[in-house]
């Protein structure tokens, strides 16, 4: 060990006044991250809001203010109302399916069995692998001619080849398909969230309940579910945000079709604002996500604050 006496009288560096002031250094440390986020999230967000009340297109980049005209035009369009309801069906359909699969999957993985680690590693895959790549695999499985799902059903005698479903070509089946793919992507996440919650429930609480005569269902619904609710809520919030605003699954699998049956807000905003270059209407369409996002953020704040208690 070097003697303490040696290290104390060090020549003061020129920057010492910066390096030693807690408040100054603290502010310098935080500012790059905050600046980055302000400049590339905060400012663009305000730009998006302004686009939505302007007449901006890529062909005529004017910032002329048009008030709520864009929103009025969008709301008058029956296709848009269809898009809005599609977005809700897509979001809630896939989240409910994902949560059910997640809850049962967690119950299965909770019990020790040989090979559990490997099974867990495989079950995580749908959430880990880039969504675009997994989606093209599903697109191939739903292929109109070479679908392995149809092949299996034909081989089992459930359907015949002439009446084989065209998964991505029929409006209802296409919606079902994108919901299934999104639920498939999120259910491992739900499993992991449920597992994290359940394993955090103290065993002595469960033991005490068992001694007091609570059965399996009672323990499940009166102790475990209320105790894991905060963590499940946060997981669900993430699921809702990333599904409600998603565009990749629909873009790759159905292009919003057939005849608009799977067009969701994100895809519609992309199609109008980027592909057609009608930036102002595209921004207005995207801003319809905002009310849902605000509700979600408020909920998120409530659940994060709980950990302070």
């Amino acid at each position: 060990m070097v003697a303490i006496a040696e290290s104390v009288p060090r020549p003061a560096s020129r920057f010492r006044f910066i390096f030693d002031r807690r408040d100054v250094l603290g502010a310098i440390f935080v500012s790059p991250a905050i600046l980055y986020v302000l400049l590339l999230v905060g400012v663009p967000f305000l730009m998006a809001v302004y686009y939505s009340v302007s007449a901006y297109t890529i062909y005529d980049p004017s910032w002329r203010f048009v008030g709520m005209a864009n929103f009025e035009q969008i709301l008058e369009n029956p296709d848009f109302r269809h898009t809005l309801s599609n977005t809700f069906i897509f979001t809630f359909g896939s989240q409910i399916l994902g949560l059910i699969l997640g809850k049962f999957g967690a119950l299965v993985l909770l019990r020790p069995f040989p090979g559990r680690k490997l099974v867990r590693a495989i079950i995580i895959l749908p959430f880990a692998v880039p969504v675009a790549l997994a989606t093209v695999a599903w697109q191939w499985m739903f292929d109109s001619l070479y679908s392995v799902i149809n092949w299996t059903m034909i081989a089992l005698g459930l359907i015949d080849r002439a009446n084989a479903p065209n998964w991505l070509g029929n409006p209802d089946l296409a919606m079902l398909s994108v919901i299934v793919v999104n639920a498939w992507r999120f259910f491992p996440f739900a499993i992991v969230i449920f597992l994290a919650g359940i394993t955090a429930v103290p065993q002595d609480v469960l033991d005490a309940a068992t001694v007091d005569g609570a059965g399996f269902w009672r323990r499940n619904y009166q102790i475990i579910v209320p105790m894991i609710l905060p963590i499940v809520a946060i997981g669900l919030i993430f699921g809702i945000v990333f599904t409600f605003t998603d565009l990749s699954i629909v873009f790759l699998m159905t292009m919003g079709g057939p005849i608009g049956a799977t067009t969701v807000l994100g895809y519609s905003g992309f199609q109008t604002g980027i592909v057609s270059g009608d930036v102002s209407h595209g921004a207005a369409i995207s801003l319809f996500m905002l009310p849902v996002l605000l509700v979600v953020v408020v909920l998120m704040l409530r659940f994060i604050k709980r950990r302070e208690i």
Binding site: R22, I122, L125, V136, W140, G197, P230, G266, M289, L293
Partner: protein
Amino acid sequence: MPRATVAKAAQETSFYAAVAFFFILAAFPFYWMVITSFKTDADLYNVAHIPFWFNDPPTLKHFQYLFHETLFARWLLNSLVIGICVVAITLVTALPAAYSLARMTGKNGEALGIGIFLTYLVPPTLLFLPLSRVIAVLGLQNSMWSLVLVYPTFTIPFCTWLLMGFFKSIPPEIEEAAIVDGCSLFGAFIKMALPLSLPGILTVVIFTFTLTLQEFVYALTFISSSAQKPITLGVATDLIRGDIFYWGEIMAGALIASIPVAIAYNFFLDNFIAGITGGAVK
């Protein structure tokens, strides 16, 4: 057989049936990627063949085509460069920010940290229109560098939040002892806090990298020329000629790009979950 044994056997069977169901549900699309990428076209496009295994001997033709006839190797390189640059930007900004927020006294640090984290929830589909304008002004349109600029908007919030938790678990007394020994505050951060939070830094590096690989919306919006695409975008959109999908090549490309991410996730999943739930369960 006594009734209890029968009931037990039935219970065991249904349990393992449930395990099998979840296993197949999760794994089948990946099995399908593997089998498609090694099959000959003649085998692939024949409805009379049983699709679940090889009717013709497996082939490497799709992989050869991918590397020789397409820009696949270029996309791999692009993704690597984008990933490394975004990791560097994220570390340089998120590490000091997280440390400062974790050590801030009072409620300010926590509130500011939550504020930064909430920006992670602002979706790309809300920001892509103005950001594409920003990128055009900067002259980065149709270039992979636009992604290097934009990806930190979600990696910085996420990683700052994750690292805050790591720094909080290091007792401040360690740095205070270093300061008493003549270290400056800055020196204490570099010499004490950083080495001690190495597991956290490693987690952040891996997650930043995988987040950049998984991203699709910004890449789709900003980049249209094939040579600038990252791997996810290239595989998903560039292996289609007109109406013809090159399924063997697409699945081979998806397979190669998926493997590293899948492995990384399995190692760091627990840290990831602890990060996003922010310790909601204590």
